[in-house]
Protein backbone atom coordinates (compact mmCIF):
# COMPACT_ATOMS: atom_id res chain seq x y z
CA UNK A 1 0.00 0.00 0.00
CA UNK A 2 1.52 3.36 -0.97
CA UNK A 3 2.46 5.44 2.03
CA UNK A 4 -0.14 8.15 1.46
CA UNK A 5 -2.99 5.66 1.31
CA UNK A 6 -2.37 4.41 4.81
CA UNK A 7 -3.13 7.85 6.11
CA UNK A 8 -6.47 7.85 4.31
CA UNK A 9 -7.79 5.40 6.90
CA UNK A 10 -9.29 8.20 8.94
CA UNK A 11 -12.66 8.19 10.74
CA UNK A 12 -14.23 10.57 8.21
CA UNK A 13 -13.32 8.28 5.31
CA UNK A 14 -14.63 5.09 6.88
CA UNK A 15 -18.05 3.68 6.10
CA UNK A 16 -19.91 1.04 8.09
CA UNK A 17 -23.34 -0.22 7.09
CA UNK A 18 -25.85 -1.43 9.62
CA UNK A 19 -27.64 -3.28 6.85
CA UNK A 20 -25.82 -4.21 3.68
CA UNK A 21 -26.20 -7.15 1.34
CA UNK A 22 -23.71 -7.58 -1.50
CA UNK A 23 -24.37 -10.31 -4.10
CA UNK A 24 -26.79 -11.97 -1.74
CA UNK A 25 -24.32 -12.09 1.14
CA UNK A 26 -25.16 -10.20 4.30
CA UNK A 27 -22.19 -7.98 5.21
CA UNK A 28 -23.97 -5.80 7.76
CA UNK A 29 -22.13 -4.45 10.80
CA UNK A 30 -18.84 -3.05 11.94
CA UNK A 31 -16.62 -5.83 10.60
CA UNK A 32 -17.37 -4.82 7.03
CA UNK A 33 -15.88 -1.34 7.30
CA UNK A 34 -15.03 0.22 3.92
CA UNK A 35 -12.83 3.15 2.97
CA UNK A 36 -14.87 5.59 0.97
CA UNK A 37 -13.84 5.60 -2.67
CA UNK A 38 -12.23 8.80 -3.80
CA UNK A 39 -10.78 10.53 -6.82
CA UNK A 40 -7.78 12.76 -6.33
CA UNK A 41 -7.89 15.60 -8.80
CA UNK A 42 -6.23 18.47 -7.02
CA UNK A 43 -2.58 17.61 -7.66
CA UNK A 44 -0.23 20.57 -7.59
CA UNK A 45 2.24 19.40 -10.19
CA UNK A 46 4.54 22.34 -9.51
CA UNK A 47 4.91 21.54 -5.80
CA UNK A 48 8.28 19.79 -6.00
CA UNK A 49 9.78 22.56 -8.09
CA UNK A 50 8.43 25.20 -5.77
CA UNK A 51 10.04 23.56 -2.74
CA UNK A 52 13.26 23.01 -4.70
CA UNK A 53 13.38 26.74 -5.48
CA UNK A 54 13.75 27.58 -1.78
CA UNK A 55 17.03 27.24 0.15
CA UNK A 56 17.45 23.71 1.50
CA UNK A 57 14.96 22.09 -0.86
CA UNK A 58 17.35 21.72 -3.83
CA UNK A 59 17.92 17.97 -3.53
CA UNK A 60 14.42 16.71 -2.82
CA UNK A 61 14.30 14.95 -6.22
CA UNK A 62 16.97 12.50 -5.07
CA UNK A 63 14.72 10.80 -2.53
CA UNK A 64 13.90 7.14 -3.08
CA UNK A 65 11.72 6.75 0.02
CA UNK A 66 13.89 4.47 2.15
CA UNK A 67 12.56 6.12 5.32
CA UNK A 68 15.92 6.54 7.07
CA UNK A 69 15.05 10.18 7.79
CA UNK A 70 11.87 9.42 9.68
CA UNK A 71 13.49 6.45 11.36
CA UNK A 72 16.28 8.62 12.79
CA UNK A 73 14.15 11.70 13.45
CA UNK A 74 14.33 13.33 16.88
CA UNK A 75 10.89 14.95 16.63
CA UNK A 76 9.23 11.82 15.22
CA UNK A 77 10.23 10.02 18.42
CA UNK A 78 8.04 12.38 20.45
CA UNK A 79 5.38 13.02 17.82
CA UNK A 80 4.65 10.18 15.33
CA UNK A 81 2.80 12.62 13.04
CA UNK A 82 6.11 14.33 12.31
CA UNK A 83 7.11 12.30 9.25
CA UNK A 84 9.72 13.77 6.86
CA UNK A 85 9.64 10.74 4.54
CA UNK A 86 5.90 11.09 4.09
CA UNK A 87 6.05 14.81 3.43
CA UNK A 88 8.81 14.37 0.87
CA UNK A 89 6.59 11.78 -0.85
CA UNK A 90 3.57 14.08 -0.87
CA UNK A 91 5.61 16.99 -2.24
CA UNK A 92 7.07 14.84 -5.00
CA UNK A 93 3.69 13.56 -6.17
CA UNK A 94 2.09 16.97 -5.66
CA UNK A 95 -0.50 16.08 -3.02
CA UNK A 96 -0.67 19.54 -1.59
CA UNK A 97 -3.96 19.11 0.28
CA UNK A 98 -2.55 16.11 2.16
CA UNK A 99 0.61 18.04 3.02
CA UNK A 100 -1.47 20.90 4.38
CA UNK A 101 -3.00 18.61 7.00
CA UNK A 102 0.38 18.72 8.76
CA UNK A 103 1.12 22.37 8.05
CA UNK A 104 1.26 23.38 11.71
CA UNK A 105 4.00 20.98 12.79
CA UNK A 106 6.52 20.98 9.92
CA UNK A 107 8.38 24.01 11.33
CA UNK A 108 9.07 22.03 14.50
CA UNK A 109 12.11 20.31 12.94
CA UNK A 110 14.94 20.86 15.46
CA UNK A 111 17.71 20.71 12.83
CA UNK A 112 19.60 17.97 14.68
CA UNK A 113 20.65 16.64 11.26
CA UNK A 114 20.17 12.99 12.19
CA UNK A 115 18.21 12.61 8.95
CA UNK A 116 20.95 14.22 6.88
CA UNK A 117 23.43 11.89 8.58
CA UNK A 118 21.32 8.82 7.81
CA UNK A 119 20.19 9.71 4.28
CA UNK A 120 21.88 7.49 1.65
CA UNK A 121 20.86 9.82 -1.19
CA UNK A 122 22.03 13.19 0.17
CA UNK A 123 18.55 14.65 0.04
CA UNK A 124 19.40 16.85 3.06
CA UNK A 125 15.95 16.33 4.58
CA UNK A 126 16.69 18.96 7.25
CA UNK A 127 16.94 21.53 4.47
CA UNK A 128 13.74 20.22 2.88
CA UNK A 129 11.92 20.75 6.20
CA UNK A 130 13.14 24.37 6.28
CA UNK A 131 12.19 24.94 2.64
CA UNK A 132 8.75 23.44 3.27
CA UNK A 133 8.10 25.65 6.30
CA UNK A 134 9.17 28.68 4.26
CA UNK A 135 6.91 27.60 1.43
CA UNK A 136 3.90 27.22 3.76
CA UNK A 137 4.45 30.75 5.06
CA UNK A 138 5.15 32.28 1.66
CA UNK A 139 1.96 30.77 0.26
CA UNK A 140 -0.02 32.04 3.23
CA UNK A 141 -1.01 28.56 4.44
CA UNK A 142 0.39 29.28 7.91
CA UNK A 143 1.24 32.41 9.83
CA UNK A 144 4.93 32.94 10.56
CA UNK A 145 6.04 30.26 13.02
CA UNK A 146 7.71 31.26 16.30
CA UNK A 147 10.89 29.76 14.87
CA UNK A 148 10.72 31.98 11.80
CA UNK A 149 10.20 35.02 14.03
CA UNK A 150 13.27 34.02 16.00
CA UNK A 151 15.37 33.55 12.85
CA UNK A 152 14.31 36.96 11.61
CA UNK A 153 14.96 38.82 14.86
CA UNK A 154 18.35 37.13 15.05
CA UNK A 155 19.32 37.80 11.43
CA UNK A 156 18.21 41.43 11.60
CA UNK A 157 20.47 41.99 14.58
CA UNK A 158 23.47 40.39 12.91
CA UNK A 159 23.00 42.26 9.68
CA UNK A 160 22.79 45.45 11.71
CA UNK A 161 25.61 44.98 14.23
CA UNK A 162 27.59 41.85 13.28
CA UNK A 163 27.04 40.25 16.69
CA UNK A 164 24.29 38.84 18.85
CA UNK A 165 23.51 40.19 22.27
CA UNK A 166 21.33 37.48 23.73
CA UNK A 167 19.09 39.39 26.12
CA UNK A 168 18.16 41.85 23.38
CA UNK A 169 17.37 39.03 20.94
CA UNK A 170 15.27 37.26 23.55
CA UNK A 171 13.32 40.38 24.48
CA UNK A 172 12.57 41.21 20.84
CA UNK A 173 11.52 37.64 20.15
CA UNK A 174 9.12 37.54 23.08
CA UNK A 175 7.59 40.87 22.13
CA UNK A 176 7.21 39.92 18.45
CA UNK A 177 5.46 36.67 19.37
CA UNK A 178 3.32 38.41 22.01
CA UNK A 179 4.63 36.33 24.90
CA UNK A 180 5.33 37.57 28.39
CA UNK A 181 8.97 37.48 29.42
CA UNK A 182 8.18 36.85 33.07
CA UNK A 183 7.36 33.15 32.91
CA UNK A 184 7.70 31.11 36.10
CA UNK A 185 10.65 29.08 34.83
CA UNK A 186 12.44 32.15 33.44
CA UNK A 187 12.17 33.86 36.82
CA UNK A 188 13.41 30.74 38.60
CA UNK A 189 16.34 30.51 36.19
CA UNK A 190 17.39 34.12 36.74
CA UNK A 191 16.99 33.64 40.50
CA UNK A 192 19.38 30.69 40.48
CA UNK A 193 21.78 32.52 38.19
CA UNK A 194 21.87 35.50 40.53
CA UNK A 195 22.67 33.38 43.57
CA UNK A 196 26.18 32.68 42.36
CA UNK A 197 27.09 35.76 40.39
CA UNK A 198 29.39 38.48 41.61
CA UNK A 199 28.21 42.08 41.32
CA UNK A 200 30.84 43.01 38.73
CA UNK A 201 29.65 40.47 36.20
CA UNK A 202 26.03 41.43 36.76
CA UNK A 203 26.79 45.05 36.00
CA UNK A 204 28.66 44.01 32.88
CA UNK A 205 25.72 41.91 31.72
CA UNK A 206 23.35 44.77 32.56
CA UNK A 207 25.49 47.17 30.56
CA UNK A 208 25.43 44.85 27.57
CA UNK A 209 21.71 45.47 27.28
CA UNK A 210 22.38 49.18 26.77
CA UNK A 211 25.65 49.02 24.87
CA UNK A 212 25.10 46.10 22.52
CA UNK A 213 28.33 44.46 21.34
CA UNK A 214 29.01 45.15 17.72
CA UNK A 215 31.65 44.44 15.09
CA UNK A 216 33.37 47.67 14.13
CA UNK A 217 33.49 48.92 10.54
CA UNK A 218 30.43 46.81 9.87
CA UNK A 219 28.36 49.26 7.79
CA UNK A 220 29.60 48.09 4.36
CA UNK A 221 29.12 44.41 5.20
CA UNK A 222 25.71 45.25 6.61
CA UNK A 223 24.59 47.06 3.46
CA UNK A 224 25.93 44.28 1.20
CA UNK A 225 24.08 41.59 3.16
CA UNK A 226 20.80 43.47 3.24
CA UNK A 227 21.02 43.98 -0.52
CA UNK A 228 21.70 40.25 -0.98
CA UNK A 229 18.75 39.24 1.23
CA UNK A 230 16.35 41.46 -0.73
CA UNK A 231 17.69 40.16 -4.04
CA UNK A 232 17.25 36.52 -3.00
CA UNK A 233 13.77 37.13 -1.71
CA UNK A 234 12.72 38.66 -5.01
CA UNK A 235 14.32 35.80 -6.97
CA UNK A 236 12.58 33.11 -4.91
CA UNK A 237 9.25 34.86 -5.23
CA UNK A 238 9.72 34.91 -8.99
CA UNK A 239 10.67 31.21 -9.07
CA UNK A 240 7.57 30.27 -7.06
CA UNK A 241 5.27 32.14 -9.41
CA UNK A 242 7.06 30.89 -12.52
CA UNK A 243 6.93 27.22 -11.49
CA UNK A 244 3.21 27.51 -11.03
CA UNK A 245 2.71 29.37 -14.29
CA UNK A 246 4.60 26.79 -16.35
CA UNK A 247 2.55 23.93 -14.90
CA UNK A 248 -0.70 25.72 -15.54
CA UNK A 249 0.36 26.35 -19.14
CA UNK A 250 1.38 22.70 -19.61
CA UNK A 251 -1.93 21.50 -18.26
CA UNK A 252 -3.73 23.92 -20.53
CA UNK A 253 -1.82 22.69 -23.59
CA UNK A 254 -2.51 19.02 -22.82
Amino acid sequence: MPIHEKSLIRPENLKTHDKLVIDGIDVSGHWSTFIESRVVADYNEALEEEIAALPGGEYIHRCWQCGSCTNSCTVNAINPDFNPRYWIYLIRVGMESELLRDKDIIWQCVSCNKCTYACPRDVFPEGVMKATSHWLERRGHTPKSPSMHFDEVFTEQIVKTGKIEESRTIRRFFSRTNQGLFQDWMIEMVKRLLSGLPLGLLTRMGLATFVAPRTSNWSKASAAMQEYIDEQHAKQEEALTLAQLVKVAQKDAA
Binding site: V110, S111, P146, R192, L193, K220, A221
Partner: protein, 310 residues
Amino acid sequence: MTTKEKYKKVAYYPGCALEGTGHAYNRSTKAVGKALGLDLVEVKNWNCCGAMEVKNVDPKLQTYLSSRVMSVAANEMDMDVVMAPCNGCYHNLKKAEYDLKHDKESAAVVDKLSQKAGHKTYESGQVETIHALDWIKETIGEDGLRDRVRNSLKGIRVANYYGCMYTRPRHIFPEKDAGPGSESTSKPHFMDDLLAAAGAENVEFPLKTACCGGAHTLSDSDTSTKLVLNILKAAKLAGADVIATECPTCHTGLEMHQIRAEKRLGEKVDIKILYFTQLLGMALGLKPRKVGVHENISDSRRFLKEKGLA
Protein backbone atom coordinates in the same frame (compact mmCIF):
# COMPACT_ATOMS: atom_id res chain seq x y z
CA MET B 1 55.43 21.31 11.69
CA THR B 2 53.57 18.66 13.66
CA THR B 3 49.91 19.09 14.55
CA LYS B 4 50.98 19.35 18.17
CA GLU B 5 53.19 22.38 17.50
CA LYS B 6 50.72 23.88 15.08
CA TYR B 7 47.89 23.90 17.63
CA LYS B 8 50.00 25.47 20.42
CA LYS B 9 49.18 28.94 19.17
CA VAL B 10 45.75 29.31 17.63
CA ALA B 11 43.33 32.06 16.67
CA TYR B 12 40.62 31.96 19.32
CA TYR B 13 37.05 32.50 18.14
CA PRO B 14 34.80 32.64 21.22
CA GLY B 15 31.61 33.68 19.39
CA CYS B 16 28.57 35.54 20.72
CA ALA B 17 27.27 32.95 23.18
CA LEU B 18 30.58 32.85 25.05
CA GLU B 19 30.23 36.56 25.76
CA GLY B 20 26.72 36.02 27.16
CA THR B 21 25.10 32.92 28.59
CA GLY B 22 28.17 30.79 27.89
CA HIS B 23 30.58 33.06 29.71
CA ALA B 24 31.67 30.29 32.05
CA TYR B 25 32.84 28.30 29.01
CA ASN B 26 34.88 31.28 27.81
CA ARG B 27 36.45 31.78 31.21
CA SER B 28 37.26 28.11 31.74
CA THR B 29 38.64 27.61 28.21
CA LYS B 30 41.01 30.52 28.66
CA ALA B 31 41.99 29.37 32.15
CA VAL B 32 42.71 25.82 30.96
CA GLY B 33 44.74 27.14 28.03
CA LYS B 34 46.80 29.26 30.38
CA ALA B 35 47.34 26.40 32.82
CA LEU B 36 48.50 24.18 29.96
CA GLY B 37 50.82 26.79 28.48
CA LEU B 38 48.84 27.13 25.24
CA ASP B 39 48.52 30.42 23.40
CA LEU B 40 45.11 31.84 22.46
CA VAL B 41 45.03 34.94 20.25
CA GLU B 42 41.48 36.23 19.91
CA VAL B 43 40.28 36.82 16.34
CA LYS B 44 40.32 40.59 15.80
CA ASN B 45 36.98 42.35 15.51
CA TRP B 46 35.13 39.09 14.89
CA ASN B 47 31.48 38.79 13.92
CA CYS B 48 28.77 36.19 14.48
CA CYS B 49 29.23 32.90 12.55
CA GLY B 50 25.62 33.15 11.35
CA ALA B 51 24.39 30.39 13.63
CA MET B 52 21.42 28.23 12.74
CA GLU B 53 19.15 31.27 12.43
CA VAL B 54 20.91 32.99 9.54
CA LYS B 55 21.36 29.61 7.85
CA ASN B 56 17.59 29.19 8.01
CA VAL B 57 17.06 32.56 6.36
CA ASP B 58 19.75 31.94 3.73
CA PRO B 59 22.55 29.35 3.92
CA LYS B 60 24.91 31.36 1.71
CA LEU B 61 24.64 34.37 3.97
CA GLN B 62 25.74 32.19 6.87
CA THR B 63 28.65 30.94 4.75
CA TYR B 64 29.69 34.55 4.18
CA LEU B 65 29.57 35.44 7.89
CA SER B 66 31.69 32.42 8.83
CA SER B 67 34.10 33.06 5.97
CA ARG B 68 34.73 36.61 7.21
CA VAL B 69 35.93 35.25 10.56
CA MET B 70 38.32 32.88 8.80
CA SER B 71 39.43 35.66 6.44
CA VAL B 72 40.39 37.89 9.37
CA ALA B 73 42.33 35.05 11.02
CA ALA B 74 44.17 34.17 7.80
CA ASN B 75 44.69 37.52 6.12
CA GLU B 76 44.84 40.01 8.94
CA MET B 77 46.45 37.88 11.65
CA ASP B 78 48.42 35.41 9.59
CA MET B 79 47.10 32.47 11.60
CA ASP B 80 46.51 29.02 10.16
CA VAL B 81 44.35 27.46 12.86
CA VAL B 82 41.07 28.80 14.28
CA MET B 83 39.86 27.22 17.51
CA ALA B 84 36.15 27.56 18.32
CA PRO B 85 34.89 26.03 21.59
CA CYS B 86 31.23 26.61 20.69
CA ASN B 87 29.74 23.71 18.73
CA GLY B 88 27.64 26.13 16.67
CA CYS B 89 30.59 28.30 15.63
CA TYR B 90 32.79 25.27 15.04
CA HIS B 91 30.10 23.62 12.92
CA ASN B 92 29.43 26.75 10.88
CA LEU B 93 33.06 27.44 10.09
CA LYS B 94 33.42 23.83 9.01
CA LYS B 95 30.29 24.07 6.90
CA ALA B 96 31.52 27.28 5.28
CA GLU B 97 34.86 25.62 4.52
CA TYR B 98 33.06 22.70 2.88
CA ASP B 99 30.67 24.86 0.87
CA LEU B 100 33.40 27.16 -0.40
CA LYS B 101 35.34 24.13 -1.60
CA HIS B 102 32.44 22.30 -3.22
CA ASP B 103 29.82 24.84 -4.19
CA LYS B 104 30.77 27.42 -6.80
CA GLU B 105 27.62 29.46 -6.22
CA SER B 106 28.40 29.84 -2.51
CA ALA B 107 31.96 30.85 -3.34
CA ALA B 108 30.70 33.47 -5.80
CA VAL B 109 28.28 34.96 -3.25
CA VAL B 110 31.01 35.06 -0.60
CA ASP B 111 33.41 36.74 -3.01
CA LYS B 112 30.87 39.37 -3.98
CA LEU B 113 29.89 40.14 -0.39
CA SER B 114 33.53 40.24 0.78
CA GLN B 115 34.43 42.73 -1.94
CA LYS B 116 31.51 44.96 -1.11
CA ALA B 117 32.32 44.75 2.60
CA GLY B 118 35.90 45.71 1.80
CA HIS B 119 37.95 42.76 3.02
CA LYS B 120 39.87 39.94 1.39
CA THR B 121 37.79 36.97 0.26
CA TYR B 122 38.52 33.85 2.27
CA GLU B 123 39.90 31.03 0.10
CA SER B 124 39.08 27.52 1.24
CA GLY B 125 42.08 25.85 2.89
CA GLN B 126 43.62 29.03 4.30
CA VAL B 127 42.85 28.02 7.86
CA GLU B 128 41.98 24.84 9.68
CA THR B 129 39.05 25.05 12.10
CA ILE B 130 39.27 22.94 15.24
CA HIS B 131 37.19 22.45 18.37
CA ALA B 132 38.48 22.99 21.93
CA LEU B 133 38.48 19.19 22.25
CA ASP B 134 40.86 18.76 19.27
CA TRP B 135 43.02 21.54 20.65
CA ILE B 136 43.67 19.92 24.05
CA LYS B 137 43.69 16.36 22.73
CA GLU B 138 46.35 17.12 20.10
CA THR B 139 48.61 19.47 22.06
CA ILE B 140 48.58 17.89 25.50
CA GLY B 141 46.86 14.57 25.01
CA GLU B 142 45.87 12.04 27.63
CA ASP B 143 49.43 11.33 28.77
CA GLY B 144 50.24 15.01 29.09
CA LEU B 145 47.10 15.58 31.10
CA ARG B 146 47.79 12.67 33.42
CA ASP B 147 51.17 14.21 34.26
CA ARG B 148 49.61 17.58 35.01
CA VAL B 149 46.62 16.51 37.12
CA ARG B 150 46.85 17.92 40.63
CA ASN B 151 43.32 17.28 41.76
CA SER B 152 42.06 14.03 40.30
CA LEU B 153 38.42 13.79 39.26
CA LYS B 154 38.39 10.35 40.87
CA GLY B 155 34.96 9.36 42.15
CA ILE B 156 33.11 11.70 39.79
CA ARG B 157 30.87 9.80 37.39
CA VAL B 158 30.48 11.68 34.14
CA ALA B 159 28.09 11.39 31.20
CA ASN B 160 29.80 13.04 28.23
CA TYR B 161 27.31 14.95 26.12
CA TYR B 162 28.43 16.11 22.66
CA GLY B 163 25.14 17.24 21.07
CA CYS B 164 24.38 17.50 17.35
CA MET B 165 26.62 20.08 15.78
CA TYR B 166 29.95 18.48 16.71
CA THR B 167 29.43 15.41 14.52
CA ARG B 168 26.56 16.04 12.08
CA PRO B 169 26.27 16.11 9.15
CA ARG B 170 29.35 14.02 8.62
CA HIS B 171 30.45 15.42 5.26
CA ILE B 172 31.60 18.71 6.77
CA PHE B 173 34.02 16.87 9.07
CA PRO B 174 36.34 15.01 6.65
CA GLU B 175 38.95 14.46 9.40
CA LYS B 176 36.51 12.45 11.53
CA ASP B 177 35.97 8.69 11.09
CA ALA B 178 39.47 8.59 9.59
CA GLY B 179 40.91 5.59 11.38
CA PRO B 180 42.83 5.19 14.65
CA GLY B 181 43.24 8.37 16.67
CA SER B 182 40.50 10.23 14.84
CA GLU B 183 37.17 11.32 16.29
CA SER B 184 34.09 9.20 15.62
CA THR B 185 30.88 10.77 14.35
CA SER B 186 28.66 7.99 15.65
CA LYS B 187 30.34 7.49 19.01
CA PRO B 188 32.51 10.51 19.75
CA HIS B 189 35.10 9.97 22.50
CA PHE B 190 37.52 12.92 22.68
CA MET B 191 35.83 14.40 25.74
CA ASP B 192 35.62 10.95 27.35
CA ASP B 193 39.34 10.45 26.72
CA LEU B 194 40.37 13.78 28.22
CA LEU B 195 38.18 13.53 31.32
CA ALA B 196 39.25 9.91 31.90
CA ALA B 197 42.85 11.06 31.81
CA ALA B 198 41.92 13.61 34.49
CA GLY B 199 40.61 10.77 36.65
CA ALA B 200 36.86 10.90 35.97
CA GLU B 201 34.80 7.74 35.69
CA ASN B 202 32.88 7.94 32.43
CA VAL B 203 29.56 6.16 32.36
CA GLU B 204 28.20 4.37 29.31
CA PHE B 205 25.90 7.10 27.98
CA PRO B 206 23.72 6.22 24.99
CA LEU B 207 22.55 9.81 24.33
CA LYS B 208 25.96 11.34 23.64
CA THR B 209 24.85 12.84 20.35
CA ALA B 210 21.12 13.19 21.04
CA CYS B 211 19.50 16.55 20.38
CA CYS B 212 18.63 18.98 23.21
CA GLY B 213 16.22 20.92 21.00
CA GLY B 214 18.48 23.96 21.22
CA ALA B 215 17.25 25.31 17.89
CA HIS B 216 13.79 25.85 19.34
CA THR B 217 14.66 26.35 22.97
CA LEU B 218 12.43 29.44 23.09
CA SER B 219 10.22 29.03 20.01
CA ASP B 220 9.04 25.51 20.87
CA SER B 221 9.95 25.16 24.54
CA ASP B 222 7.72 22.16 25.21
CA THR B 223 9.60 20.04 22.67
CA SER B 224 12.94 21.18 24.06
CA THR B 225 11.88 20.37 27.61
CA LYS B 226 10.91 16.82 26.57
CA LEU B 227 14.20 16.28 24.74
CA VAL B 228 16.29 17.65 27.61
CA LEU B 229 14.37 15.62 30.17
CA ASN B 230 15.23 12.49 28.17
CA ILE B 231 18.91 13.38 28.26
CA LEU B 232 18.94 14.20 31.97
CA LYS B 233 17.08 11.01 32.89
CA ALA B 234 19.23 8.80 30.69
CA ALA B 235 22.39 10.26 32.23
CA LYS B 236 21.01 9.70 35.71
CA LEU B 237 20.01 6.13 34.86
CA ALA B 238 23.49 5.50 33.50
CA GLY B 239 24.77 6.37 36.96
CA ALA B 240 26.24 9.82 36.28
CA ASP B 241 26.64 12.63 38.84
CA VAL B 242 27.58 15.15 36.19
CA ILE B 243 26.83 15.82 32.55
CA ALA B 244 29.92 17.26 30.88
CA THR B 245 29.18 19.64 28.01
CA GLU B 246 31.17 21.20 25.19
CA CYS B 247 28.65 23.61 23.69
CA PRO B 248 27.13 26.76 25.22
CA THR B 249 23.73 26.20 23.57
CA CYS B 250 23.47 22.61 24.83
CA HIS B 251 24.75 23.63 28.23
CA THR B 252 22.27 26.48 28.68
CA GLY B 253 19.52 24.35 27.17
CA LEU B 254 20.11 21.57 29.70
CA GLU B 255 20.16 24.05 32.58
CA MET B 256 17.09 25.97 31.41
CA HIS B 257 14.91 22.99 30.68
CA GLN B 258 16.03 21.17 33.82
CA ILE B 259 14.29 24.02 35.64
CA ARG B 260 11.40 24.16 33.17
CA ALA B 261 10.75 20.42 33.56
CA GLU B 262 10.66 20.95 37.30
CA LYS B 263 8.24 23.89 37.05
CA ARG B 264 5.98 22.71 34.26
CA LEU B 265 6.06 18.91 34.45
CA GLY B 266 6.96 18.42 38.10
CA GLU B 267 9.92 16.29 37.05
CA LYS B 268 13.03 16.96 39.05
CA VAL B 269 16.27 15.31 37.93
CA ASP B 270 19.13 16.00 40.27
CA ILE B 271 22.23 16.00 38.10
CA LYS B 272 25.01 18.58 37.80
CA ILE B 273 25.88 20.21 34.50
CA LEU B 274 29.44 21.41 33.91
CA TYR B 275 31.53 22.37 30.91
CA PHE B 276 34.30 19.85 30.27
CA THR B 277 36.77 22.74 30.52
CA GLN B 278 35.50 23.48 34.04
CA LEU B 279 36.15 19.87 35.09
CA LEU B 280 39.57 19.83 33.41
CA GLY B 281 40.52 23.18 34.97
CA MET B 282 39.70 21.96 38.46
CA ALA B 283 41.64 18.77 37.81
CA LEU B 284 44.60 20.96 36.88
CA GLY B 285 44.33 22.58 40.30
CA LEU B 286 42.30 25.70 39.44
CA LYS B 287 39.74 26.96 41.97
CA PRO B 288 36.07 26.62 40.91
CA ARG B 289 35.73 30.41 40.66
CA LYS B 290 38.62 30.54 38.20
CA VAL B 291 36.66 28.29 35.85
CA GLY B 292 33.39 30.14 36.40
CA VAL B 293 31.46 27.48 38.34
CA HIS B 294 29.56 30.33 40.08
CA GLU B 295 28.33 31.52 36.68
CA ASN B 296 26.46 28.29 35.96
CA ILE B 297 22.73 28.18 36.57
CA SER B 298 22.93 24.58 37.77
CA ASP B 299 24.60 24.93 41.15
CA SER B 300 27.28 22.32 41.70
CA ARG B 301 29.36 24.11 44.31
CA ARG B 302 28.41 21.90 47.24
CA PHE B 303 28.87 18.75 45.17
CA LEU B 304 32.35 19.85 44.10
CA LYS B 305 33.28 20.60 47.71
CA GLU B 306 32.17 17.11 48.71
CA LYS B 307 34.35 15.66 45.98
CA GLY B 308 37.32 17.65 47.21
CA LEU B 309 37.60 19.94 44.20
CA ALA B 310 36.62 23.20 45.87
